[in-house]
């Protein structure tokens, strides 16, 4: 992958902004991660911090809507968050929900702890939307059309879980639905953060990355608690989803690890023990328990379910973003 990105970066250097747009984030991430150094004077990027924050805003719209529908049965514009272009609170695109509309999306919770977690997460994701919009001001992109109904059916089919999947059906299905987003958020912020130039925004991105990792840890721990030996099937679902995410983003290495078990060797040397996989990171050499990053293009491929690079000027479209994302990275 590094070689491909290196080639793409080379093209970017000699080509125009249009080319940069076509290649998208993979090329940009190549700059940060493939070890490619641009010569002085060639380093002016064809994107701004606002473009990166807007990319994040698209993802936060998606997460905030999912959690808010599950807990409040309404969309975030009814909960004080803006979704329109710039400072316009309204005029965002629609959210496609299950038949019955937003109110039918409230999960019939049976586990109070899970309801409390979902309520907290919904609030925090709305805060992220509000924070990014406030900092972007007139540059904020509107919410694009979001699909939180057909998307889950499609992904469940692709992952081999079932032909239909309703993450709002019950506590445990909600956890599986949330699992689809959370680790992706971590890897997306991890990939985007080094592209940011303004120190204050970089600090904010690192802080949101931290919160997304808390959410991911929360969801994965809750799944492990609900299915500690894998017999309930939840662990298997997460592993199928992780495999699907890797298939979509074209990872050449196994970096996305579902909730389950691994064998570790700690101390004394040469003894092995069973361990959980709460953290989405490979242990031992050579990765040493560090999370991984995804380029903006890899994230686009996952959230739109499309692996093919669209024609120049066209967007990645499908699954959660049937009409694509808004903004430069789309």
């Amino acid at each position: 992958m590094a070689n491909l990105e290196t080639q793409q970066v080379d093209e970017v250097i000699v080509n125009s902004r249009r080319k940069m747009l076509a290649l998208g984030g993979a090329a940009l991430a190549g700059i940060a991660f493939a070890g490619v150094k641009l010569a002085e004077g060639q380093s002016a990027p064809a994107y701004t911090d606002a473009d990166i924050l807007n990319f994040a805003l698209n993802l936060e719209y998606l997460e905030a809507q999912f959690y808010s529908l599950a807990t409040s049965g309404t969309t975030i514009d009814n909960l004080g968050s803006g979704i329109g272009p710039g400072t316009n609170k309204f005029d965002g695109a629609a959210v496609i929900t299950k038949p019955g509309g937003p109110s039918a999306c409230v999960v019939p919770w049976t586990l109070p702890a899970i309801q409390a977690y979902a309520t907290e997460t919904a609030s925090e994701e709305r805060h992220h939307v509000n924070f990014l919009r406030a900092n972007l001001g007139s540059a904020a992109v509107a919410q694009p059309t979001l699909d939180l109904y057909n998307s889950f059916n499609t992904l469940a089919g692709v992952a081999g879980i079932a032909s239909t999947f309703d993450p709002f059906a019950n506590d445990l299905d909600f956890l599986v639905g949330a699992y689809i987003f959370e680790d992706v958020g971590v890897t997306a912020y991890s990939g985007a953060a080094p592209l940011i130039t303004t120190p204050a925004y970089l600090a904010a991105a690192a802080g949101i990355l931290g919160v997304e990792a808390y959410h991911a840890g929360l969801i994965r721990t809750s799944i492990f608690i609900a299915d500690p030996d894998g017999k309930a099937g939840l662990q298997g679902y997460t592993q199928q989803i992780s495999a699907t995410r890797m298939k979509l983003d074209g990872s050449s290495t196994v970096d996305d690890i579902g909730v389950g078990f691994q064998t570790v060797s700690v101390e004394p040397a040469n003894t092995t023990n069973g361990a959980a996989t709460i953290v989405d990171a490979q242990t031992g050499s050579p990765n040493y328990s560090k999370t991984y990053s995804r380029s903006t293009t890899q994230v686009l491929q996952i959230v739109t379910g499309s692996v093919n690079i669209p024609a120049a000027g066209a967007k990645y479209m499908g699954v959660f973003f049937p009409n694509g994302l808004n903004g430069l990275f789309s």
Partner: protein
């Protein structure tokens, strides 16, 4: 000063952080890029002064000569990585000993001759398989972080300092109002509280340090690594906080109509959180204990939010701490300059960031 429902002061860390960053930028412009001193740079300056200080008798000099001004230590990327390495030594020793009874091997400490003070038995007794699975994963992660940082720093890596995982916890428990003694290796629940002491601090420390790394190729490489380790620490922190809440449900008092979660260890954790806030500049979010609930459970009558994530309550951005604030927490020392050690590091951290500046 905003106070939440738990009575714990919640500072707007984000605002303070932005201001700090702006100041650093201004200083950076005024001085050359390589010579600016970040907030914690002052700590290093103090370290130099302390190291050259008056405890040793100066050799008699035949004629008065100007006192040589020590060159200020300019903190670089390796100093921040070594600061992180000290924290990883601490976490690795804690989790490894809890999991296996043995700590870091000599190789992983840089063949340090220092000691780790622990109770006679540290392997947690009576764990279920699932609990062991949690423990071994975190132990492996922290061991990996030690190995990664030592490898990245190569010959610049500092050796493991003296670490105290016994008297430190007793003192912390006393200061937090939990009791006169506390053994984090005594039971699963005690272990969770012990782990709680470290995990959120790791997140804030990496978040703070990330902003201090240089704008060089090496600094950028380290930044990517620091962000990745920050994320792992946040996974751990969420895991520990989630397990504390889950345990309060698992050990709840139940009648035919009411479940009352056991608040004991959540309360301990929150007392620790309050102590950390006092020592380390706020930057804390207390856990919300799950309130009693009726059975059969009626979800429409029950809409409280948990607080698994430690973040500022307005923007939901994880907190950052300066190296100085982290030092005060791990040294168990209230604000003030010149603290060289204590708490978990009885003789201080190794490296250039080891003495508090304020």
């Amino acid at each position: 000063m905003p106070v939440d429902g738990t009575g714990i002061t919640r500072f707007s860390r984000w605002e303070r952080y932005v201001v700090d960053k702006k100041l650093i930028e201004l200083i950076d412009k005024a001085m050359s890029r390589r010579s600016f001193m970040a907030r914690s740079g002052a700590a290093a300056a103090v370290a130099v002064v302390a190291g050259c200080g008056g405890s040793s008798t100066p050799a008699p000099t035949p004629a008065p000569t100007p006192t040589p001004t020590p060159a200020p230590v300019v903190l670089g990327d390796s100093d921040y990585l070594n600061f992180a390495l000290n924290l990883e030594y601490l976490e690795a020793e804690f989790y490894l000993r809890a999991a296996t009874g043995s700590g870091l091997s000599a190789t992983d400490t840089g063949n340090a001759t220092t000691t780790v003070t622990v109770p006679s038995t540290t392997m947690i007794p009576g764990l279920t398989t699932a609990q062991q699975n949690y423990l071994f994963e975190i132990a492996q992660n922290e061991l990996d972080h030690v190995r990664f940082l030592r490898s990245a720093l190569a010959s610049d890596a500092v050796t493991r300092p003296d670490i105290d995982l016994m008297n430190s916890f007793n003192a912390a428990a006393s200061a937090a109002g939990i009791g006169s003694s506390f053994n984090p290796f005594g039971s699963y629940e005690a272990f969770l509280v012990g782990a709680f002491v470290f995990e959120d601090v790791g997140v804030t420390a990496y978040h703070g340090a990330a902003g201090l790394l240089s704008n060089t190729a090496t600094g950028k490489t380290y930044l990517a690594a620091a962000a990745s380790i920050l994320a792992v620490e946040a996974y751990h922190a969420a895991e520990i906080r989630t397990l504390l809440i889950a345990d309060s449900v698992a050990t709840a008092t139940k009648t035919s109509t009411l479940v009352t979660p056991n608040p004991t260890y959540v309360t301990y954790a929150n007392q620790i959180s309050k102590l950390r806030a006092t020592l380390g500049g706020g930057a804390e979010t207390a856990l919300t204990a799950l309130p009693p609930y009726a059975i059969p459970f009626v979800s429409t009558a029950y809409m409280p939010a948990s607080s698994i994530v430690a973040c500022d309550p307005t923007n939901s951005i994880a907190y950052a701490r300066s190296t100085d604030e982290v030092l005060h927490i791990v040294y168990a020392a209230p604000p003030g300059a010149g603290v060289k050690g204590g708490g978990f590091f009885p003789n201080g951290m190794t490296g250039n960031i080891s003495v508090t500046a304020s």
